[in-house]
């Protein structure tokens, strides 16, 4: 069987994590979690993965604050953020639509985004619903800003934005997204139409997001699938048809 869309995403994200020492993954993030585990599988024992909500992949012993302290210390190289809205300046909104005091829609809240986005060097933005409703010109509430004024302590920030349609790179100097690749089965026109913010398109054309080779697929479907099933049994069963462990 050829690669499933989730496997393309997992492979693309794992490529962003190559050679990193410590990758942390938040709750409810099966694709980023699988990508981190794939990166670990390929690292020959040099990559750590902390998955919140996993008993087996949670190294922390100093309470809820430790993830944040650890990130602040520079000991976490990559993390994932999503957003109800993400805008063209890489701002993330996890709070509400409309006036926050009487919102049209209210989401759970900012979690640790207002901190981790500032201190983790590679924050990978991840949003499976790529529409003008989610990728907007300007978010209604900034849980965490994409970029900061000069002088603001900001060792971290956005590294890539990956959706169900494509992958964007981040131009930190111009503070904009630049289309990097289009996932198999999707088109540039579709992406322009479905993106609410303005972004750069490289003049030489945009490649297709690479699909995993057979070796990678094998690792994803065996070792990664087995581990991810511990944390996200429904996801693993649906995508990899793993038996219950």
């Amino acid at each position: 069987m050829g690669p499933r869309p989730e496997e393309v995403l997992i492979t693309a994200i794992a490529g962003m994590l190559e050679g990193l020492g410590h990758i942390a993954v938040g709750a409810s993030s099966p694709i980023p979690g699988a990508a981190a585990l794939l990166a670990r599988e390929r690292s020959a024992g040099t990559t750590r993965v902390s998955i919140l909500g996993s008993e087996r992949n949670n190294f922390f012993t100093d309470g809820g604050k430790e993830l944040f302290d650890c990130a602040g210390q520079g000991r976490i190289d990559a993390f994932f953020l999503s957003g109800a809205q993400i805008d063209g300046a890489a701002n993330v909104n996890l709070v509400s639509i409309g006036d926050p005091d009487r919102p049209k829609a209210r989401f759970p809240g900012s979690f640790g985004s207002g901190y981790l986005y500032f201190v983790v060097p590679r924050v990978i933005l991840f949003r499976l619903e790529h529409t003008p409703r989610t990728l907007v010109e300007r978010v209604d509430f900034i849980s965490a800003p994409g970029f900061s004024e000069d002088g603001v302590y900001r060792p971290g920030g956005p590294h890539k934005l990956i959706t169900d349609r494509c992958l964007f790179d981040v131009d930190r100097d111009r503070r904009r997204f630049r289309l990097e690749s289009v996932h198999p089965g999707h088109t540039l026109d579709e992406i322009v139409e479905q993106t609410g913010f303005d972004f750069d398109i490289p003049p030489g054309g945009v490649p297709e997001t690479p699909v995993p080779d057979d070796d990678t697929l094998e690792v994803i479907r065996t070792r990664v699938a087995g581990q991810i099933a511990e944390i996200y049994p429904d996801f693993a069963a649906r995508v990899f048809a793993t038996p219950t462990h």
Binding site: A27, S28, G53, E55, F60, T61, D62, G63, G64, K65, F68, D69, G72, L94, V95, S96, P100, D101, R102, P103, R106, F107, P108, G109, S110, F111, G112, S113, G114, Y115, L116, Y117, F118, V119, F141, I142, S143, A144, P145, S148, E149, G151, V152, Y153
Partner: protein, 274 residues
């Protein structure tokens, strides 16, 4: 010194209306039995503090009309979706939400634990979280001018309320690696804990259990409540009651459904554990 041990209903009775109550997230140890008792006693104007997020217990308290404000990094039922009574209350404007972020809540509780008036925190600058917090300040770093730093005032809850696998008769409470519960107990003026069981002996006598134990010094009162986290689970103990939680998430979508759930699950029982 022996602990004060009371029934769950009495524990809830000691939490006054208007109190700021620190609560753990769903993946922590939630004292649902005591929360249900709080609802039964008709608690009002509670100021919930998520450490750092709140789930089912907060939604239940909000639905039952016990809550005036919520300060939290998130309100979520995780795989069961948004908190329906919370969402309805926010849209109706019947509760006030003070949006925060996880490390700010931990840091501000650490300030209370250390009895320092404020604590700095990185990040936040440029966010609407900060823009909407009149109680937070940005100063120029006195050690490195030109470096703006957010200062958070210490967050001193009136009450910390949580569940734990065990305590001893001296009030020592074992929480293992759930040290955010220890931070809550250090920071709060009063700490109320329900436990699966009160064990013989002293948890401080074994260096291994001692390392994960909150000293009785910080524990105002204890209640024994077997399965006191139900319908939540406790890590290493019992699993969450998935069927009940799914039913809650479904029923709580409407006021009527929530009322029916409340009547059937909370109001007609003296305590969830019985």
């Amino acid at each position: 010194m022996l602990a004060t041990v009371v029934p769950v209903e009495d524990l809830a009775a000691r939490i006054p209306d208007g109190a700021t109550v620190a609560l753990p997230p769903d993946y922590g140890y939630c004292a649902l039995g005591a929360v249900h008792a709080l609802i039964r006693r008709g608690a009002r104007r509670l100021r919930l503090l998520g450490v750092p997020a709140i789930g089912f217990q907060g939604d239940m308290l909000i639905g039952a009309g016990c809550v005036e404000t919520v300060e939290t990094a998130a309100m979520t039922l995780s795989e069961y979706g948004l908190c329906p009574r919370f969402t309805a209350a926010v849209k109706a404007g019947t509760i006030t939400v003070v949006d925060s972020t996880c490390p700010a809540i931990h840091a501000a509780l650490q300030a209370a634990e250390k009895a320092i008036p404020f604590i700095p925190l990185r990040g936040l600058i440029g966010s609407d979280i900060l823009a909407r917090r009149e109680d937070w300040k940005v100063i120029d770093n006195p050690f490195a001018p030109g470096d703006p730093v957010v200062l958070l005032p210490a967050l001193c809850p009136d009450v910390a309320l949580f569940h734990a696998p065990m305590a001893d008769r001296f009030g020592n409470v074992w929480v293992g690696v759930r040290r955010e519960q220890m931070l809550m107990a250090h920071a709060a003026a009063s700490t109320f804990v329900t436990v699966e069981r009160i064990v013989d002996g002293n948890l401080m006598d074994d260096e291994r259990t001692k390392a994960g134990t909150i000293p009785g010094l910080y524990v105002t009162a204890l209640a024994e409540a077997e399965r006191g986290a139900w319908p939540m689970g406790i890590p290493g103990g019992y699993e969450p009651d998935q069927a009940h939680l799914a039913r809650y998430a479904e029923l709580a979508r409407t006021e009527e459904g929530f009322a029916a759930w409340l009547e059937a699950t909370v109001m007609t029982r003296p305590a969830a554990a019985e």
